[in-house]
Symmetry: C4
Subunit: 280 residues, 4 copies
């Protein structure tokens, strides 16, 4: 085994595993299908985040998780394809220092709202996790006709501005992007915002619906913070994965050979910087 | 093995197992997901009930089942988190001596009605198990803005008053609570009330619907009492669990170590008492 | 092994197996859940039919299949519960000598029509298997308030009259009953009538729908007769069962001990006779 | 082993395997059920195509794949039933030299549109794979009352004319036919056109919807060409098959005995010819 092939200890093994688990939970619980992705900000360096190489979340393994700067450039040149829309993550991390995790998806429950422009509001206690307001973003506003993917940094920054201080932004004719103050909060919010959208859609067809009051939203948003809520839900989702033999493997060492040496100069790493919104 | 660790015989092993099975059936048949809970009144002491520690019903094992008084205080100090909303069970058991089992859930089939305020009525023979009237409860009426959880005894008592003599109460912007004269009746009612809600919703979109007459409801409510109905359905649900390897394990002994000794004084056990409604 | 316990050769082993398979296909493909049943007329004696003892179709084994006369009395006194609504089968077999198989179900796809009274018509080529007309039956018309179950022979006869010469009858606020000239045709019709109902419901919500013309229905009804249609579908459904390990076991011998000897006189077997409609 | 039974090397083993995989993906992802079929044009001879014998796509094995001329006559006389509607494939291959793969299905998501006549338009980025226009075909227009199956060459040619230069044609009261410039593009288009139809239906019930602009459609159609889109989706779908143990077996040799020798003269193979539309 050459030096290149010898595994290096991975101090972020646990984080990579948890991120792979979060990817798989969101896939298994119907939020993500072939396309979509989930990231987490580097715990020690706010100018970095972790995201899988281009792979469906249902299949993500710890060994797929790569490190990016906030310009969404990989820290080490990868040998595999990257998500075309990774700027969604980088630009949101730039604009929102409070955000620790980001998910982009096209869940069936929210797509009708992304297509119709109907607003989503919290309609049950667990839906309050979304927050009171769910803004829209429409690529046409800033960019006219595009292929609707968020690929350029300017597109990611535009999306991040539409997200603003909120927790979810609906992308017209495309899907949604969710943020969280922790990875587990992101998963909780991703799942229950979809349930909320589905119940809202069904309630609207029955007739009227009465949403939560601002006071109810504010109080119910804190449900996720209850210790038994957090642990119960995480145990539920991970056990359901394990029962289907869908948990990722535990990788404690990153094999050097997945990092390709380049003799040519690497692109300069840009320092993390905030764009647009001031940090709180 | 110390005295603390030695298993004590559990004379309620069969009951704990059946309650764990009921939890798992309601999860497996789509009534309960990560959140929700199922309890049964103590067969010998109407001032006690059995309920799992805070765990998703899909995962509940007999060893998770704890004993509570009707003020929803655990009889022995537990080492694990408890359901925040267990007062739902205790307060209903206080008010309804005929009730032997209680389930709180947020089933997708009923949520649109909880959100819209549209009434649910029985629309097919098995839906008559719900009874003729399904009342609503809205936390705003008695408590203004809350986080919508039923945590305080006064909130549980308010909910129990709204349930009244009925079998199900819909909790606005939250979910539902179902009661039964037996655990198996509770499971039957929980499942078929969801089917009923779904068919009602679909029928309303086609156009008119004709509900059951009071006479039909009264007669069809007794379907569950038919011996072949009871046994057929229970065999169906438990076999479906077993086929998915989802049956709980059989625990005949409760390990003492899950019961934490407290040197400090335990909270006084309050005697079971009725609040509000007179007992029949 | 006593004489009572010695297995007797079962010349209808293959038929019992096929009927168990049909039960399981209809359960597995979403037509039947805990309640519902499937029967086949005796191949040699039109005054008899085969039907399981009271058991959910998903679980039916060849050893559960019992023999009945057309008054729905068991030929041999059973040791197990019987379906309360077996007169549905017997009375239809009396009135329809062309019918070889009968299924009673409460499929989710047809329930909204049973509840709303909206008619079901064929809307795609495979739905033509239902026939041009799907009549309704309402127990109120002949019997006023009941528990909606079809238990008495008079109720079964009333239902059979409403079925008339058609292939499916919708039972208001209850479910549906399907007939077939063969067991496999019954399964095909049961499954595709449900698909048809679902597509009709969805199409009505989009707006107008254009049903099949009488000529199209007549021609498309014959699709099932095409040899590759029959075998392809049956292979599909049985393989799907087998992949889930849901095929019934093969029982070639009926154990005598399931047949309870009675010293008291058995009820006289009534000869098969037609009620109401003249035979073609 | 006689000469007849000795396996012949199959130079198209990989193609047969890939076609079997495509069949199974479309079944597994909910596009195809018991009825429907998927073909691919011969890579070396545009006057031939490969299609399974009559078998549900979910079950298709490489050894089921037969070769046909564009008149949909089998190249070698088969021992098994053929799809009655194979002219759909042959006639489209005649008219569309750019088409490499064809799928006929009755997916639940598109059936309501086939029944109502409501148009399907792209409403999200992945739905643009369908193209801007999804034409209808109604057998009544050219043929009056039929059984709605496309069995005669004239019916297949009529359908191919309605398809025109587009990627999907909706067949009134029947289903849909999809084409692709490659087998993998066909699978992608088949799956995402169904998602698109479903989201459109749901969005219409919420209220208005804004479809993609022509510019957006044109640009988003190219998403499939992105390398990471192709590989990510294919890995996702094949891994999901493999996890369910649903991948076809690998057959490298076609056993001669499935090819039946005929002493009588075989029907003359007609040369591939274009009908109707001029080739570009």
């Amino acid at each position: 085994m050459t030096d290149e092939e010898r595994p290096v200890p991975d101090k972020f093994a646990e984080l990579r595993h948890e991120l792979a688990v979060a990817n798989r939970i969101l896939a298994h619980e119907g939020v993500i299908d072939a396309f979509g992705h989930v990231s987490i900000r580097h715990p020690d360096d706010p100018g970095r985040y972790f995201l899988s190489r281009s792979r469906s979340p249902e299949l993500v393994e710890p060994g797929d998780i790569l490190e990016f700067d906030l310009d969404s450039q990989p820290v080490k040149t990868p040998t595999m394809q990257l998500y075309a829309e990774r700027v969604i993550h980088g630009e949101i991390y730039k604009m929102r220092p409070d955000v620790v995790a980001v998910c982009h998806h096209h869940a069936a429950a929210v797509m009708p709202f992304c297509i119709s422009g109907d607003p989503i509001v919290p309609v049950f206690h667990l839906g309050a996790a979304m927050g009171a307001v769910v803004p829209f973003w429409d690529s046409r506003d800033d960019f006219g006709d595009t292929n609707l993917l968020v690929v350029k940094p300017a597109e990611g920054a535009s999306l991040a501005r539409a997200l603003g201080r909120h927790s979810i932004v609906l992308m017209r004719r495309h899907g949604a992007t969710v943020v969280g103050a922790s990875l587990r909060e992101l998963v909780f919010r991703g799942i229950y915002s979809c349930d909320n959208a589905h119940y809202l859609s069904e309630a609207k067809r029955l007739g009227n619906f009465s949403p939560l009051t601002p006071g109810e939203i504010e109080m119910a948003q804190a449900i996720y913070q209850l210790p038994n809520a957090q642990s119960r839900a995480w145990e539920y989702w991970t056990t359901r994965l394990a029962k289907q033999d869908e948990m990722p493997s535990r990788a404690t060492r990153v094999v050097k050979s997945v990092i390709k040496k380049q003799t040519a100069a690497k692109p300069a790493k840009k320092p993390a910087k905030s764009k647009g919104r001031k940090r709180r």
